[in-house]
Amino acid sequence: MTKTKVKRSILARLIPGLTSLTKRGPSGWMVILGIIIVTAMVVVTVIGPWIAPHDPAKTNAHLIRKPPSFQFPMGTTHLGQDMLSRILCGGSIMLQVSALSVLVCFLIGVPLGLFSSYVGGIFDKVSSLVIDAIYAFPGLVIAIAISAMLGRGVVNMALSIAVVYIPSYFRVVRSQVLSIKELTYVEAARGIGAKWYTILFRYVFPNVIPSIVVVATINFADAILTAAGLTFIGLGVTIDIPDWGRDLTSGWQYLSSGAWWIITFPGLMVILLALGFTLIGEGLSELLNPKLQR
């Protein structure tokens, strides 16, 4: 299919999809609100570097910890950097880290879960055991270990977060597949001699997608928060890259001298972003939950 055709078909599904959401009650509105928030944040992050009034990393000894004013609407940091510019440019790290980690989780956790639960037997038991062990591992410790091993940077942060969340995908997929694979039409497919991978990908997988999407959005929100947490422990990116997580961390020390703005604005941004994804996820899970239909 050509590009325009793909775009059109996506739009063709998207717009009625979105409008139909509005008719689905408060859950639908949650999803729409979430999508608006996330899109807005992504747009701001992308165009941020262009519209930022100052260089976000440039220090200035005379502008240290200045409260919000007309010239610096969000105040300055302890090194004299403009907070507004840092807010505009600081989201990309978080978004990159969480997007990457969700992708990795998805690519590893979902197939593993599908395969393991469908095949069953020893393989299933062993993988469940390993996954449970990973699950019992305090996530932050794994993240710290991986960061120390591989060094800093977006990719390594994403990897460490991904490792922590793969068990969730695995478990959700597995529980879904366990119930789906007993359904009659799946049995029927087996009866007519369909190969296992056909069954898996054409019959089982589409039914699992809704719950995966929900987990993915929650995972996104969690990844953002974990990325902030990792930076808080001291494992974030280097200081010359503007990052909401870093401002959250360094702003902490200056609260007792009254510089509330260094921490508040990045904190609000992180909350907003995580909230966007959570809204989408929660809304979707409610929409898809048949037990709630009146």
């Binding site: 120390a148 929100a221 947490g229 422990i233 992180v270 909350i271």
Partner: protein, 345 residues
Amino acid sequence: MGLRSYIITRILLTIPTLLLLLSMVFLIMRVLPGDPVALHFEKKATPEQMESMRRALGLDKPLWTQYIEYLWGLVDIGYFWEHGYPNLGKSMQTFEEVGGQIFSAFPATLELAIYSMIIATIIGILLGVVSSKSYNSIPDHLIRGFGTVSYAVPIFFLGIVFQLIFGVYLRWLPTGLRINPAVDPPATITGLYTIDSLLQGNLFKFFESLKALLLPSLTLGIILSGMFVRMTRTNMLETLRLDFVTAAKARGLKESTVTYAYALRNAFLPILTIMGLQFAILLAGAILTERTFSWPGLGTYIVDRINFRDYTAIQGAVVMFGLFVTLVSLVVDILYAYLDPRIRL
């Protein structure tokens, strides 16, 4: 399968899980860059010094031997009997008994976890019930909003906001530590300051520890409660629609009886599972909360020890964490199986 065999199977399954956990920690530690031996020497050390240090830390033995000794130490009953904690080796940084260090740090995290869980369940269930009763009204939307937003807030951010308001501006509550350093902590019986001070009849210390506990457990509790609110609400909504509820109402039972005695009891099971899940999240969140509130618990301990590449200490702490999480999920699973007659795998 009867309940008994289910329990036995579950317990047996935890052993390989734990074993895997131990082995993973062991390997990860050895792969980390940074040499615990070198960290003892600031300047140049002679090869003999490095060698003797390596021997003192037990790192000169082959990896396999270290592993076996490590596992062997864990099941050393005699040591456990003597010390009251398992043999987790000696800290590679201070040479204190790791078991002792962990057992002195663990109660702090436990206390925090318990109080946070209490707060989370109370807030969560109450709000969830209220919300489900008034479906689609303003309170319902507000509570749902709270449930969603509370989960999106970074733990340390909420903690810092609380510190700022209650600790710095209002000066009502301490911003960190388990008790005001001006006060001697209560003598250790359980290690939980609140319980210990009550057991000794020391109300002053009880209130001081409570004051210090309030902000961190409120932080963690509020963040966790979101999940409880949503879960309770969803389950209550489902249950309230079920026939037996309508039947109960038709029979003329009071609204409150119906809500709490009938509906909530049935909705409780999934909530129980969530509680188990949340404990795992709670322990992970404990690291961040402890850091924010300078809480000297297991989380702070792990982060400190990682800086020193203190293999034995980190292994011990992770094992403790893992053990606890596994135990809690075991208990939850068994409770679930016991309470829900439909589940008999």
